[in-house]
Symmetry: C2
Subunit: 152 residues, 2 copies
Amino acid sequence: MAKELYFEDFYVGQKFASLGGVKVTAEEIKEFGSKYDPQPFHLDEAAGENSFFKGLAASGWLTAAIVMRLRVQSLNVAGGMIGAGVEEMRWTLPVRPGDSIHTEIEVVGVRQSQSRKEFGIVRTRTLAYNQHNEVVMRSTVNFLAPLRSAVK
Amino acid sequence: MAKELYFEDFYVGQKFASLGGVKVTAEEIKEFGSKYDPQPFHLDEAAGENSFFKGLAASGWLTAAIVMRLRVQSLNVAGGMIGAGVEEMRWTLPVRPGDSIHTEIEVVGVRQSQSRKEFGIVRTRTLAYNQHNEVVMRSTVNFLAPLRSAVK
């Protein structure tokens, strides 16, 4: 587990790489698709062939969920990573069965919260890559981090 | 299933309500949490009590996934709803075990794609509500819709 971080530990330009890659399987694509994004190209290879994606592809929301897991593993915020909103999220390439996803997070902003005095807001840009180091998703996400001075 | 829609069928101000509510269970919160967002407040009631959320709460990415399912059910785009990016997503209230989520989608923009001549881009604002009609999540999401004139 990465070192526990408070707001004071974050600075612009700081980077966090995921500890490893996450392999995406056809089974997981179909299971997630059937639960949360039941469209033919997320459920079935043959239906995918006749679609925009020209094959089975992961739901963008599965990719986002996998990226969240990688974020949680590589960046250990004291008290947990509490989402303070997504500013942008783009899916730039399909994620296919067998792809392995890894992430790089960069801190692009830090500011104290006006509404919650004991927290700061950390703005992060995350790039998710496949095994060919092609960007499959990018996002700008804010999360809360507690002030060390407020909890100790 | 809702009527299949092409780009020409969308207009600003158009609304799509989800067909019903989706009940969120503690089991689903924990299962999704353990797979994609393994933080104490998404995994365990007792750990949740001692956290920011003061109880077990759904991962925001589970809420986003449930909202996607509701979007797919209420809005049937010809060829499927191909995400063209999230402009904004905010989690405004925790989603708890037993909550029932429903959505309202409003079309807030329509324009032809510059890069893909056979598609238009539909910009939508989605509000997700709990059973008390409190907004738990809001988002602005773009998706592609094929031009009827291009495929027929």
